[in-house]
Symmetry: none
Subunit: 185 residues, 4 copies
DNA sequence: GATGAATGAGGATTCATTCAT
DNA sequence: AATGAATGAATCCTCATTCAT
């Protein structure tokens, strides 16, 4: 008797493979056929676990989105000091390191997200993040710096992969340093 | 004699409409049918002016790419001082303001570009830009700052549109200020 | 001890729900999923009770078909008088009032039935009915009248539902009157 | 040089073949692939001429529907006498003889039509026809007779095909006789 | 300088059906 | 008596591309 391929957690495996391909080739260019083939199942199997292609994407976002929401909530409960904002940056970096692929997808598939309801949701979330990182009393450049800090984290976290000289975490750490420096009074 | 619809410069009009749609909805999701409809011509007409869909995209990039190449060439001919780098930032900002849509497209369609020859070309170009903005002697955070400066320009130039309180140019100017500040010794 | 959901007669409930949906949306457009959902069971459950989708349909027909067969047999055993034919009409009307949905299905899904063995069976049955209601000695219009009498019953029985001014039975009674009038020497 | 297959009137040929198949096997069961194959073209060719499968159906209805509308309009402009109604029946029969397949489709695909906008349209049309053939002063059986007269025409026109002893037109003529007899004061 | 008609490849989705549990 | 997971075949439809005119 041969050991059977574990028939469990197919749902989770679909999400993983899908995210990989969505991040690499883009949502539109990724055919469900590819996902299915890579998993050794039929296209129809995907439809057993998810209602639509979009649903796969949404399900991927939903989980990690919660974490960001919690971070924003936490920040709102704190005094709006520079130190709070710096802590937000640090925690955001921590969150993103575990979600590199999703991060990449978010940054590189804006047109897709713009046309999807989930995109609107993410847009609101990012707006919330920007809100806790800046305030209207700041100069325009400083407000830009606050927003750029978020991008610094993203950029550092994503770029790590393609750079051979430095490890992913080294780059991500450097990104935090740069980002913290962008948060001004 | 009836007044003729000016049939002039159809080629250029195709490029304009195409870029608009590519930037808004993404390259993959934009059908040639849409471009044709928006122009009031047939799909086949597009094929009179361009060999393929990809060719439309490439032709759009080619022109403005030259400007960047020239900027890089110019920078390489200068002494690698901070002031040179700052001037590169300033000139890059100037270039980009005239190419907002293309800039948006470049940032938001990475997966598409990754799969296309033109993407490889652009990647090299950006690498060149990074090269003149940083050097190996710098600390990792400072190298990141150099790269981030480019993104600051992009971000500032693109974001301008969706922000009501500040004009596009105000934001772009602020972005230059932030970017210049990111260029270190 | 908790009160059990009555698991009784699932088979019959499937037939009921299926007939409702088949009649309303047509056999082809009715998915087994819909039937299952409406019953609160799984598709697979349907397959415990019936071998195929077609089998559900056949099982629905089989029961009430017997009654028609008996009516035809009875008619054949009587003298072929006008009065016999009128009695057939009356009895047929009685039969159909208890099977409105099935009647509707039969009339509105001819293409489906034509492609299914059960359709051939029903066709023979109707031919038998026509046979006892007409004879070759009649004029062509009178033969048509005999056949039309059957449709008058069907029409009257089915239409009753959508007409608010008159009750279903009033219309069905009127249909009998019209049908009887169509049976000629 | 060989004589080319006439590349013209593809649109009309699609409608013809489609109606044949829709009438024979039903709308749902008829795959666009079948229509295309029967015509020796690609599925995509159908989509050049029609926007959707439903659109093919609608386009088929639209033409002959006009004729019925005109008939109803004409009837409404006449005095509501028995003779007017009888003339409506005669003209309706004439109309239907040229549209046997469409007539068959209408009668045998009610569930499909019920779910389609075009079905609602046809329902209104038939209601209009019934309106000019009956009036509220009549007894219920006589109102039913008026409606049944329409079905007599349909039935007679359609049945002709499957009956070998009598020609289609003989049966249709008989149907008119029966139908006229169903129109009462 | 452009169109009308068509193709071939491929997309997402749905369905009836199966089978081990 | 019924489910959970999956399949294979089919569906409608869209797209980039071609080519004779």
């Amino acid at each position: 008797m041969t050991t059977r391929e574990r028939p469990r957690d197919t749902r989770a495996r679909i999400q993983q493979v899908a995210l990989d391909l969505f991040a690499e080739h883009g949502y539109e260019k990724t055919a469900l056929r590819e996902i299915a083939e890579k998993l050794g199942v039929t296209k129809a199997a995907l439809y057993y676990h998810f209602k639509t292609k979009e649903d796969i994407l949404v399900s991927i976002f939903t989980d990690s989105a919660e974490q960001i929401d919690e971070l924003i909530e936490w920040a709102r409960a704190q005094p709006p000091t520079v130190e709070t904002r710096r802590e937000v940056i640090r925690r955001y970096s921590g969150l993103m390191r575990g979600n590199r692929k999703l991060l990449q997808f978010m940054h590189e598939n804006q047109p897709t997200l713009r046309d999807l309801p989930i995109g609107e949701t993410m847009k609101h979330r990012m707006a919330g993040l920007f809100e806790v990182l800046t305030d209207d009393g700041q100069s325009l450049p400083d407000q830009l710096r606050g927003r750029l800090a978020v991008f610094a984290i993203s950029f550092g976290t994503m770029v790590g992969m393609s750079d051979t000289k430095h490890s992913g975490d080294e780059v991500a750490d450097a990104a935090v340093e740069v980002a913290l420096d962008l948060i001004r009074e």
